[in-house]
Symmetry: D2
Subunit: 114 residues, 4 copies
């Protein structure tokens, strides 16, 4: 069971704790730098970051975001991750989150035509 | 304590359960219609929806999404919500999520100039 | 659609931000006091709190936890909430989370008998 | 940065999608069997499972729960994970979630004595 590496479409939101300042932007920017080096597809939004790829790589890059934010001085971190996998069809690599959103937009576009 | 209605910057991801089909796009489109009627600021992304407003209104509209998705046939629903509040400064109404993202982008833009 | 008040079985995890200390125990204890006054069924575990009741009441008490934790000095808070509703059967009031766990335990107990 | 393997105190809630039945107990029981084989410390509650250990092992076992639940017939899965790491002090191995809860209970016990 552990031999396969499922493809995962995910979203995560990392919160530094105990920093003494309420702004988290510097820490999130640091995550952006880590994500960029990973080569994985990702996109930040107002309350988290869409990311996708093989499970082990997505897990590793979130781990490395934690390591980088700790290195920047955060003594503690709490992250919330949403993880989606499916076996009924192939997820188009690097386009899983984009395709999900597009499908909803197509349905809504039909509303306007009707 | 319960007299105030905190302003909340949030993100939620609704999952219909027991529908017999792996696609959730029709249900998410239904949420979009509910959200649009609410008048609140919201923006869908690949793994959820940014939304903000007074706590009671944000809570009510997510409730109404559940009611609408149940009405469309989902016997059960599981939603994940991220909720942020702050009292150190005013959140610009309807622009809380946007402003958070902009701050990170400004920090990253300085990287490129350096 | 907004007239009903769905019964919700939930779990939430509240994180104070910008407090300058990595411990969150005092803030979580404050939430416990707020929850106790609410009269709703709840149970803390190692990474959050099970809670259930009518949607509006569960939402209100989480709001009041935020207000109380802000009053104790946290300038900013990020909470993660898992919300479950169902319309295929009645949830036994105050026992939704307990019953879910029991069903899993019953299935596992059959493993041992087999 | 990626050389270390941070110790993680976590909680996850796995939701099978597209199964055609609203009950998820059989799938969660399957996760329990996978978790037990992992040797990691875990504890189920009404809306998820506390789990802890080295990051890579916790990630791997949640992956293996997905694989097992797919093998049982779920075409799609959505999981929510809360992940906590800290570098200000050692987490007592296998007792991170338990210790967090104990600290809150100690604070509340003082209330009753006062």
């Amino acid at each position: 069971m552990s031999s396969t590496d499922l493809y995962v479409v995910a979203d995560f939101c990392l919160i530094p704790i105990g920093t003494g300042e309420s702004s988290v932007a510097e820490h999130i920017a640091e995550c952006h730098r880590v994500l960029e080096k990973s080569g994985l597809t990702f996109k930040m939004h107002g309350y988290g970051t869409n990311i996708e790829g093989p499970w082990s790589e997505v897990s590793q890059v979130i781990h490395d975001c934690h390591a980088a934010v700790h290195a920047k001085g955060a003594p503690r971190i709490a992250t919330n991750v949403r993880i989606g996998t499916r076996v009924d069809r192939e997820t188009p690599v690097g386009r899983g989150n984009e395709v999900k959103l597009k499908r909803v937009e197509e349905i809504l576009a039909r509303d306007e035509q009707a």
